[in-house]
């Protein structure tokens, strides 16, 4: 079932949790609401569920207005971060709850409930646990009970609020994969909230990045990662190096840009933030002829598929650089040694275009494939 959120605003006292949010979710999609805490993602999920009523705007299910529809009648399955299981009931009774509270006319028979719950417990791989009580189970198992309970009422939409947030890393990984398979199996429209970018990128077909009550970008995981619409998205998705510089001579279509801060600013130069991902910084122990930043190796972490190197530049900035194990060995880098860093790909967002969400001036694609030169930071505008 498709979901249409239109112009939704929600305030809690003076705090604006959602500011004129619009969101469309396709039937059968698996969507992630991603953002830092306080960005409004949970509020948006609760508005969709009907646990929160928007001050302004509407929520439509399959084109039908559900804004004033009570949470009981929305047919949504909601899974809470801390499971919210009924601790005085067995696992079986927990899952059966949604069926048992139905009005007598539409309540399934005892045998039907038995069959349905058994089937659901099989689906979540908890067949042998029907008689247990929630406090006797692990976090991962409890969350699967919560999921089975939500699915028991055959919801048209499945909503999950940080479903794996309270679990440890290993279990989280497992449950992620498992949820993905489950979604492929039952194909119910699913929206989940997370602040973990890996989770969002790995699990969802669409990622909705939120910040300060607004949606910053909606797109496929690949799109939001490769082509972030704003400085915020760039910054939030993964590690990134930020250079605060003034940029001049930047026009669409140029294949080289000059980014520096000479003593006399050329007319038309503007303050900007330049973002470079760690793997887009090329590192070398010798200066080639190309534009580069000089620095010293501060820290090396060679554990993992990529080697992570921390470099202190000549301008006092700390850079995160990633390189392959092979190259790391070939260069023979040591802690404290002198290195040269060259950006291969960068994205530029101007600070003065819009104060909060500095957009990239151009569509961005022109800039981010450009080989660039990064000079000295502005004396007037030190990096914070």
């Amino acid at each position: 079932m498709g979901i249409e959120v239109a112009n939704v605003t929600k305030r809690f006292g003076g705090f604006v949790a959602l500011n004129d949010v619009n969101l469309h979710v396709d039937p059968g999609a698996l969507v992630a609401l991603l953002g830092p805490s306080g960005s409004g993602k949970t509020t948006l999920l609760r508005v969709i569920a009907g646990l929160e009523r928007p001050d302004v705007g509407s929520v439509k299910f399959e084109g039908e207005d559900a804004t004033t529809r009570d949470v009981r009648e929305r047919r949504v399955g909601f899974v809470f971060q801390h499971y919210a299981l009924f601790r005085h009931m067995t696992v079986f009774e927990n899952v059966a709850f949604g069926l048992r509270v139905r009005p007598r006319r539409v309540r399934p028979s005892r045998a039907e409930i038995q069959a349905r719950v058994t089937e659901l417990l099989q689906l979540v791989q908890l067949d042998g646990f029907a008689r247990r009580y929630p406090p006797q189970m692990s976090g991962g198992q409890r969350q699967r009970v919560a999921l089975a309970r939500a699915l028991a009422v055959e919801p048209k939409v499945l909503l999950l609020d940080e479903p794996f947030g309270a679990l440890d890393a290993k279990v989280r990984q497992e449950l992620r994969r498992w949820l993905r398979r489950l979604h492929e199996e039952i194909h119910v429209t699913t929206v989940f909230v997370t602040h973990d970018q890996d989770e969002a990128l790995e699990l969802a077909d669409r990622v909705v990045v939120m910040n300060a009550g607004c949606i910053e970008q909606i797109g496929t995981p690949d799109k939001v990662f490769r082509d972030p619409a704003s400085a915020f998205v760039m910054n939030f998705l993964g590690t990134v190096n930020v250079f605060h510089r003034r940029v001049s001579g930047l026009t669409p279509g140029m294949d080289a840009i000059e980014i520096q801060c000479p003593d006399e600013l050329p007319a038309g130069s503007r303050p900007a933030r330049i973002f470079v991902r760690p793997h887009n910084l090329e590192i070398d122990t010798r200066a080639s002829g190309r534009p580069r930043l000089r620095g010293r190796v501060q820290f090396i972490n060679a554990a993992g598929p990529q080697v992570k190197i921390e470099v202190l530049t000549e301008f006092g900035e700390i850079l995160q650089v990633e390189t392959s194990q092979k190259r790391y060995r070939a260069l023979g880098m040591v802690k404290g040694g002198e290195v040269y860093v060259t950006p291969k790909e960068m994205r530029v967002f101007f600070d003065d275009s819009r104060p909060d969400q500095a957009d990239s001036l151009e569509s961005g694609s022109d800039v981010d494939t450009t080989l660039g030169r990064i000079g000295r930071p502005c004396a007037s505008k030190k990096s914070p």
Partner: protein, 260 residues
């Protein structure tokens, strides 16, 4: 360990066993005579029945008050919360005098009730009112922390599954808070049975009609009928033990169905 045993022995075990020993000197016939006397039976009926009604009423309204105190934010909530403990702190004689003054036919509420043909003070109703007053805090104070612990999300989860407010209460909240209410009820009941100070003022103390068991014991003592007093007291002691046993069994049962 040793200290605990000594303290409990001095305060609880020795006095109680003395009571049993003294009453043990009575013959069965004498005991039976004491118990079967209509005045004794009436006193037991009044004490136990009144306490049951008072504790039962407090279980219902105490839970309600606890709910309001936990869930609603309103001006004066803290004052109200503090007020709940007043029956604990107030000397029972003071409570007895003020309750009598209000519920007597010349009092504010008593006069109004009398107009409706109901006699409050100097009747079983007055006794129940006094018992309810002194045992009010128990259920509230046992239910409050449990209600506080119930996660809002659990109620929301029930609502998303289609449960209406009544079902949420009956199936989710009440089973959770039930053991606590039961414990509060037991304490309220015990307190109401044993209450003396406030009840003697409002009851009128008419033998066979508004005479409670503790008062009967007192009367026997004043008649120098020590054996009779002890027999009546012994029965009360046995009843208290039985009550404790039943309550503990009920709680164990409630806990088994809801392991923590």
């Amino acid at each position: 360990m040793g200290f605990t045993v000594l303290y409990l022995s001095l305060l609880v075990l020795i006095p109680l066993s003395t009571l049993v020993l003294c009453a043990g000197r009575l013959s069965w016939e004498e005991l039976w005579h004491t118990f079967s006397a209509s005045r004794t039976l009436a006193a037991y009926r009044l004490s136990l029945g009144g306490a049951l009604i008072a504790a039962g009423g407090n279980a219902i309204f105490g839970l309600l008050i606890a709910w309001v105190l936990v869930r609603y934010r309103f001006p004066g909530r803290r004052v109200l919360d503090a007020l709940v403990d007043l029956p604990f702190a107030l000397p029972t004689a003071v409570a007895g005098i003020s309750l009598t003054a209000i519920y007597a036919p010349t009092g504010v509420i008593g006069g109004w009730l009398a107009g409706a043909g109901i006699q409050a003070a100097y009747s079983p109703l007055g006794i129940i009112i006094a018992m309810a007053f002194v045992s009010l805090p128990f259920v509230i104070r046992t239910a409050q922390p449990v209600l506080q612990d119930i996660d809002r999300e659990v109620e929301e989860a029930a609502a998303t599954l289609g449960a209406d407010r009544l079902q949420v209460f009956a199936r989710v909240i009440f089973p959770t808070v039930f053991p606590a209410v039961l414990a509060g009820f037991a304490m309220a009941f015990a307190r109401a049975v044993g209450e003396y100070g406030s009840v003697v003022f409002i009851s009128g103390n008419m033998p066979g009609r508004t005479e409670i068991v503790p008062l009967l014991i007192m009367t026997r003592l004043e008649e120098y009928n020590y054996a009779g007093a002890k027999a009546v007291a012994l029965a009360l002691l046995v009843l208290s033990f039985l009550m404790l046993l039943v309550i503990n069994l009920l709680q164990a049962w409630a806990r088994r169905s809801a392991p923590v």
